[in-house]
Amino acid sequence: MNGLSVINPGLLATVQDLGRLGYLGHGITTGGAVDAFSLRCANRLLGNTDDLAGIEIVLAGLTLKTTCDLQVSLCGAPVTLHINDEQQPIDQPLYVEANSTITIGRTLTGTYSYLAVKGGITTPAVLGSRSTVIREGFGGLNGQALQPGDLLPVADLPVPQDVPKMRPRGERRQRDETQLHTDILHLRFIPGMHYDEVTESCRETLCEKTFSISGAANRMAIPLSGNPIDTGLTKLWSEATCLGSIQVPPDGQPLVLLNDRQTMGGYPQLGVIIPPDRVRLGQARAGQMVKLEAISPTTAEQIVWLHDHYEETHLKALTSLGNTAL
């Protein structure tokens, strides 16, 4: 079997695709790339379909060795990429010979980056997805994060050495997405769930105070710290959680729920952050100041429509490039 051999997994690296959809009612979380757009970009650059699995890298430190010739691409946080000690551009399809070393180095901004391989990582699919959910122990390779010595299988496809070069507009895109948030990151949300049951002063604390991302962020949730929010609600009946929910446990420090969240929760949920802002939050780092802003569903629809249109346009440009790479 050929593929990518893990020399050093770095901080945390997992196999992810667009997630395990349709099983929330069975208590099975979606998982999937926190920044799905960056994974899709990486796939499109290689002529892959969007649903193929890649490697999600948290911050840095992943070192891999190729056991066959491959085409790869790296998108997301602006990390450094070295192939056999030579720095290579990200947001580009790259040809890599067998027995090469791929090293993902550090970055000053952003958290998640995605390494895609032509044809995709081909670990077994579980309930229609290859996404790893470490807590549940399934997906990826044996349900775990990458370990030294793992061999990740890749699709057995012919890989031409000639790869077209993308003009550097791709770099501009990802700088926009993960630029240093020296300012406050605004998180727009649609009020809902328990929002109508909390007091006016609770809503004011939520939307008028500034919070910062605490150091305990992971793929389950991003904890925010700041003035405690008193929802006045206790003993709720467990109910569905949402991707991007603002959940407030008894200590008053809100959590924004991400891809690996538990499907049910017993704490108040005050609203759902719109997808583009959720991904920006996911890419941000501990200490980042954030402010929550309630918006109407109509406004949210307009923002999300424009954002989706922008993403689709960008992906189409990558697709035409990726297909010439076939």
Binding site: H26, G27, T263, V272
Partner: protein, 224 residues
């Protein structure tokens, strides 16, 4: 019953009264009717104790159309009976398998044997599934067994543990942290990815517990 947004692609229906088997039955009926009507448009339907959260694909189904299909919110909860399957789970109740039996007995002023009879003598409705794959919230247990959660949750509860908290009971499908009181162990796998559906219990099922001996536990595949 009222509805609220659950993000741009979700609707949360919530019953204002207390959860009950008939509320769950009503929400299940609605879920089944809607999933039949919109097999592609509805991506996920999640029942809580008294909520039904519907997630939809906006390119297939609009929020307005979904709300229209749901119809009059005041007519959703009626006198429906739970039509779920009857599921009997064997449980080895013992100090060795349920380390909180004595504490629960003391708290309720009953003998250990009476606690076991009280817990196994009832049929429970599966109100919700979640927390971890295959974990089902079952209720309601006898008021006499109503106990708050542990002050400090255990870091690792063995797979198959049968536990209680407040008026609820559940079986832990896999080793996980847990703050409920442990009464015994069930030898059957509650979650198996090879099965379809992977969970042994589904929302709406009527679950009962049957006391078994240590030997029966082992012969049914239970591990110590």
């Amino acid at each position: 019953m009222h509805w609220s947004y659950a993000g741009l692609t979700g609707i949360r229906l919530s019953y204002d009264g207390a959860p009950s088997a008939s509320v769950t039955a009503s929400l299940l009926d609605l879920r089944d009717r809607l999933t039949k009507q919109y097999p592609k448009g509805l991506t996920d339907c999640v029942l809580g104790y008294r909520t039904l959260t519907l997630f939809f694909n906006p390119t297939e189904l609009s929020r307005e159309a979904l709300l229209a299909a749901i119809g009059d919110l005041d007519n959703i909860v009626g006198s429906q009976q739970c039509a779920g399957r009857a599921v009997e789970l064997p449980v080895w109740y013992a100090e060795e398998s349920g380390q909180d039996l004595a504490v629960v007995a003391e708290h309720s002023g009953l003998s250990v044997q009476a606690v076991i009879e009280l817990h196994s003598g009832n049929q429970y409705t599966a109100f919700a599934t979640g927390f971890s794959p295959g974990f089902c919230y079952l209720g309601n247990i006898s008021e006499q067994l109503d106990m708050p959660r542990l002050q400090t949750p255990r870091r690792a509860v063995p797979a198959g543990s049968v536990a209680i908290a407040d008026r609820q009971t559940a079986v832990y499908p896999a080793v996980s942290p847990g703050g409920w009181h442990l009464l015994g162990r069930c030898p059957l796998p509650l979650f198996d990815l090879e099965q379809s559906p992977p969970g042994l219990i589904a929302v709406g099922d009527q679950v009962s517990f049957k006391p078994i001996t240590r030997d029966e536990f082992l012969s049914l595949g239970g591990t110590l």
